[in-house]
């Protein structure tokens, strides 16, 4: 499998996961976070390299904000343009709870086939 094939697979996987991870990060956080901060938290959680490109989280943040899953406020910054800080809404939390259930069942389902324990396939656990 060449590199571009891997990248394509990873990209397709990430489609919905970015939103889930961003909601989870914001739900865990006590304070409001801005795009760069969220990106760095994701990278730090995975030894410095995020699974998805950090540039892809901004459009998702904005989309979720438009969908009322997040609220945001703008704070001026010394280093660059004013920053937009995001906070999860109640609606965002309930969506996150639903998505977590979906993710857990999807992960378990995929694990049944991909984990190297052939005996488990077909058995009820």
């Amino acid at each position: 499998m060449d590199d571009s094939n891997e990248r394509k697979f990873q990209k397709e996987l990430n489609g919905g996961l970015v939103g889930l991870v961003l909601l989870a990060v914001l739900a865990e956080s006590d304070e409001d976070l801005y795009g760069y901060e969220i990106a760095k938290r994701l990278a730090n959680a995975n030894e410095g390299t995020s699974i998805f490109k950090e540039g892809t989280i901004y459009p998702v943040l904005r989309a979720m904000s438009a969908g009322n899953l997040l609220t945001s406020r703008i704070v001026p910054s010394y280093s660059g343009p004013p920053r937009r800080y995001y906070r999860i809404t109640e609606q965002g939390r309930s969506v996150l709870a639903e998505w977590k259930v979906i993710w857990a069942s999807t992960r378990d389902f995929v694990d049944r086939f991909t984990e190297t324990q052939p005996l488990r396939i077909g058995q009820s656990s």
């Binding site: 459009p59 904005r62 969908g67 280093s79």
Partner: protein, 322 residues
Amino acid sequence: MNRSAPRSIDQYLRQLREELAGADAALIQDALYDAEEYLRAEVAAHPDKSESDVLELIASTYGAPDEVAAAYRDTEVKVKAAMATPRKVPKSKLGAFFGVFLDPRAYTSLFFMLLCLATGIIYFVFAIVGLSMSAGLAVLIIGVPFFLMFVAVGRVVSLAEGRLIEAMTGVRMPRRPVYQGTALGFWARIGEMLRDRRTWTTIAYFVLMLPIGIIYFVIAVMGLCVSLAFIALPITVICAQAGWFGMGGVEVFSQAQPEWIFDSGFAIPILGVAGVLLLTSLMHLARGIGRLHALFAKSMLVARTAPAATTAAASGAALAAH
């Protein structure tokens, strides 16, 4: 991706802009804003490294310009699909004609046409007062700062107008202001602002909004009055003839109306049908005007190519590259 990797924030933003060429101008403005926020924060977070060292690693963290551009395009398409309420599009021509009543955009556009008179007056007064006071104060020391403040406030107003237009017509407008960058000095930023074509088209837009608003308002009010009156005519005639209302024995339709309307049996239902057709046409017209106006606003209020975030050197390089 056969170009050289960007070595400065300006180069990165320029490549991102090139990758997004052809995309919606509002999307480009938002994408550049996000990228600039990230890149400047990243550079600020590594004071020990030079800008080009930081940018060297950016493709593996933030993503190369082409990857980021693709993410914005994809997300935009997905969000648009998810946000748009699925609407049954009637197949037949007749259904397509009357289907406009099911389209919320037609109603909001009609409302926008009425609203344009109010916003048009406000924008016009803002622009004329700003310009004339700037000219009048030019002889005093506060003239120039006053004008600069006027232009800056105008940008905020134009962003708000964009949000209003997007809400009313559904056409994508910027969600972030243009960021000028801190790389430039105070005076250079002022220079960029005055050289920026958008500064002047924004003021022109504000001035034009008064006549445009009057035209929209007249079309909307005239269309509504005439078509609703026609629709109401058969209903009132039936009610009056049934004796459901009269004014103390005075016949409601005694004078003033041409005789033939009531003498012929056809005229009244025909006028009623004409009213329905007219109202439907008005809804189509409103939706069309809403879209056209959004395009007009986009061409006047949104930077066509570059927000002036780049330094003079970078814009020189961009000119040379073209």
